[in-house]
Amino acid sequence: MRDGTVAAIEVRDLTKVFGGGSQEVRALDGVSLTIARNEFFTLLGPSGCGKTTLLRLIAGFEQPSGGQLLLDGEDIAGRPPFKRLVNTVFQSYALFPHMTVAQNVAFGLEMQGWDGARIGRRVAEMLELVKMESLGDRRPGQLSGGQQQRVALARALANAPRVLLLDEPLSALDFKLRKDMQVELKRLQRETGITFVFVTHDQEEALTMSDRVAVMSQGAVQQVGSPDEIYERPVNRFVADFIGETNFLPAEVEAAGTRYRVPSGETLSGHDPHGHAQGAQVTLALRPERIDLLAQADEPVSGDLAGRVAQVVYFGTDTLYFLELDGIPGRFQVRVQNRNGAQAEFAAGAKVGVRVAADAVQVLVD
């Protein structure tokens, strides 16, 4: 690479096709990614988009139908899983039921031919890392889900892999445990300096934990970026829709890169990474929390939209308003912080003004 550092994982135009003929499934369709060393990289996408398939290709359980896979700059095509410095935390944990916790953690070290005393020390170290010191003699069947999860982590980390692949490791846990494990995983990643490739279909988990996120859909990567880039600057409708809540407005480019006219006649200033030309029909994305509601009496300024409150939903920390905008089809969502307690500022049926924050409008490709 240009800056002299080699990526932990480089995926070039990777394709995976299952089956054949009429039953052909393109699980991955030309995926390209570069994952840096020590990065917490998350694959985010709906069910069936190919996240697990990508992990299995990296781990070596499946062979690619096309494209290249580089680990530390080395092409690892055809290399069996046991010769890749990659370990996996399986979604199902896949702990060996006939071995104790300690034996599970020791397994990888034994396979590498470590001697008994060294294995013992390392296992103790790993169990301490995941706070399971006292349960080394238990069998997996005698552990809770969260404990099994931590054993699976310790087992995968014991070999000090260059890359740790985690396939929805938290999906089986309850909310509280899940939050704890998220913090724990982050800590482990910082302390070990290992590259984490983390799979989830939970967008909040992806945003809070990752250095960078790749949003996938139907076997292809839609966007790669930091959590705030993904959230604030989605490149297309799928990403904007999949992550968080979004209002979509049809618009026409009035001045390329700056002003966009919505059907009701007002113009909004927007951010366009795609460089649509003047006159082009585009879609604008607006996050509900980047919008202010104004009472009818307030003085409107240029760019304010007008509408009527259709429905009010109380959420505790905030209130969600569903609006019908004048001259614009569809429903429009606005989220307002409840600074004044439970009392909603606007009732259903009220006429309101809508003010969009300065840089809140993102122009999408459809």
Partner: protein
């Protein structure tokens, strides 16, 4: 309401059904006894009774023309198992029966080992097939049972004899000049036993392999185990209950087999089964036959105990 009418409307108190129902309603223990009674009856009538009878027969004096002399007790049969009375009335160790026991164990052991060597890969292959083929394969494994055991052993005679299919083919191919002796050897017995008992090895191993989570094998690969190590450390241990069950199901009936050694082994390759059968038959020595059967039973029970202690599932692996 008049008391007389009420009395008439309840069923007669002496109805056996009513009193039993009342008893059951009152007593937890009575209900329990009634529930396990059928099982106890079956075990008692079909297992304990015959076994007790045989135990008693083994300590009776033999009848001159077969049968036993009821009421005349002796341990002669157990003595005769190990010792022989010479002409002067001294007891000398008689290794004949021990030899037969030894041969039986050896042949059963070889049979079990061969069944395991063939049965494990077969079961493994079956377990890896797509689901729709698996039932077909199980079905195929059980096909030999459709034919009578005698017929199948006679078929082996036809194959193995001097002018049988095997020898004729080998000679036809020019691999041998004269027929080789296959029939009436230990080899023939083992072959017959392996053939007869192979399904008993394949099916339990298949059952445990089919349940095996392939993701565990992937986990082993992931942690650096090559195919051989993943096999040794993950697949075999998880299939162990099936392997142990298969070994017992092959070893125990092999020990007691008598049709196969009778037909394929000839007179010089007797096994315990033939010995016991001959004591009850031609030799007319029922007590010795019963004693031999008990010696065999003791050994089998011992093996079962070892199995139960060794392979009882550890907690939490359910």
């Amino acid at each position: 309401m008049a008391p007389s009418r009420q009395a008439r409307s309840t069923p007669s108190p002496i109805s056996p059904f009513t009193s039993l129902a009342n008893l059951l309603r009152r007593s937890q223990r009575a209900r329990l006894i009634l529930l396990i009674a059928p099982a106890l009856l079956i075990i008692g009538v079909f297992m304990l009774l015959p076994l007790g009878l045989m135990a008693y027969v083994s300590i009776l004096e033999r009848g001159i023309n077969g049968g036993v002399q009821w009421g005349v007790h002796t341990v002669d049969a157990y003595v005769a198992f190990l010792f022989e009375e010479d002409l002067l009335g001294n007891l000398a160790i008689n290794p004949d029966y021990l030899q037969i026991f030894g041969r039986s164990f050896l042949l059963s052991f070889v049979t079990t080992a061969a069944c395991l060597a063939i049965g494990f890969p077969a079961a493994f292959y079956m377990a890896l097939q797509p689901e729709k083929y698996r039932n077909l394969l199980i079905f195929l494994v059980t096909i030999p049972f459709w034919t009578n055991l005698l017929i199948r052993n006679y078929a082996w005679i036809l194959l193995l004899r001097s002018n049988g299919l095997v020898n004729e083919s080998l000679m036809g191919l020019g691999l041998i000049d004269a027929p080789i002796t296959l029939l009436y050897t230990n080899f023939a017995i083992t072959l017959g036993l392996v053939y007869s008992f192979l399904p008993f090895m394949v099916l339990p191993i298949y059952a445990s392999l089919e349940k095996l989570d392939l993701r565990l094998v992937e986990a082993a690969f992931d942690l650096g185990a090559n195919k051989r190590r993943a096999f040794q450390r993950v697949i075999v241990p998880l299939a162990l209950p099936g392997i142990a069950a298969g070994c017992i199901l092959v070893f125990v009936p092999s020990l007691g087999a008598f049709i196969t050694p009778e037909l394929l082994g000839g007179s010089r390759s007797m096994m315990i089964g033939n010995l016991i059968q001959s004591q009850f038959g031609a030799a007319r020595n029922w007590p010795l036959g019963a004693a031999l059967a008990f010696a065999l039973l003791a050994i089998v029970l011992l093996a079962m105990m070892v199995y139960l202690m060794r392979f009882r599932r550890p907690p939490g692996t359910g």
